[in-house]
Symmetry: C2
Subunit: 200 residues, 2 copies
């Protein structure tokens, strides 16, 4: 009942609303309602909407990115890392379906801040990049540069989530059960697709 609990409730509520509506679309009133408190309380704990947003957004990233990078630090064979990456990322999104659109929207809003945030925490891709280059040199996979492989992977993983409202309607007769099945299938489909593209 103390301050911690309320602040936490606010953050949780804000996460829901921001994920669904993005920074521009979200209303402070809506967040207050979701948290079951008054609008004024938001400004008591967070001076501005901007500040609240940053708290939520970077909280999510702090949780997500290190987990993804750590996958590549394991000692599995490379293609198994890909599989783990796809599964991990996809699982996280199945629990937060609005995440990708939210992230990419804000990538475009303030890229400098985001880039700084990652640099400050040592979140960069050199390690993974080196790993892929080595796999190519050793002839374990077909030639491809890291940026291309990265864009391919993220694109395939993320697309069914950001396109869902349209895809579900046009490709699955607007049946959400079927679409969820489709999403689940994608983990193995993407993994297979990549493995075949990179050559076994």
């Amino acid at each position: 009942m103390g301050s911690d609990s309320t602040k936490e409730k606010i953050v949780q509520a804000a996460k829901q609303i921001f994920l669904r509506k993005g920074m521009d679309g979200a209303r402070m009133q809506e967040i207050a309602d979701e948290a079951g408190i008054n609008k004024a309380m938001l400004h008591y704990y967070f001076h501005s909407k901007d500040q609240l947003f940053d708290e939520v957004f970077y909280g999510i990233l702090s949780q997500l990115i290190p987990g993804l990078i750590s996958i590549f630090k394991s000692d599995k064979p490379f293609l198994d890392k890909i599989e783990a990456f796809v599964t991990e990322y996809d699982t996280y999104m199945s629990r937060n379906p609005f995440l990708p659109q939210f992230v990419f929207r804000e990538i475009n809003r303030d890229p400098d801040q985001l880039s700084r945030f990652m640099s400050d925490r040592g979140l960069n891709f050199e390690l993974v990049e080196g790993m892929i280059n080595r796999e190519v040199s050793n002839g374990n996979i077909r030639p491809i540069t890291f940026p291309h492989l990265f864009a391919n992977l993220i694109g395939m993983i993320v697309m069914p989530y950001i396109g869902r409202p349209l895809f579900q309607r046009k490709l699955f007769k607007n049946d959400p059960i079927e679409y969820d099945r489709f999403l689940l299938e994608r983990r193995s489909v993407i993994t297979q697709f990549v493995k075949q593209a990179l050559g076994a």
Copy 2:
């Protein structure tokens, strides 16, 4: 100087602003400035912001989608159609870099209207879907369903555009020239990637 010219100037200006900011982020004042006219004029030609937005948005789609579908109606070999699709889509986006984020953002805003729009104009995917199923049956490509292949393709094509602000900074030392080169490369990289994944 007549009404046609002004209306056209408004539509062009609105296109620029909406593509960059989306429906929520765009300001009528900004559109008026871009068009070099007064804010009141926007409401003279278009009753509301919503109406202006729809005009722009569906104008773009009317131009884009039929071209993409028509590619699959040609009599090229299937994998060449894929190549043509990637090139065509990518070329369009290199001229309108903000398009994908804009489209996916609005897919989530009013999916029913968009779905109806496509149905009204007979813009659906059955033709392409049947084509792919036949290719699979004939053993020309490895087994894959249309929704999966579609999501893979669109995802890979679109990702470097919606992720550009971050990707360019973290993967290309924020060098726009290098990033443009990367974008250009992707046409052949994606085509190769897909061809290998589907098996030749």
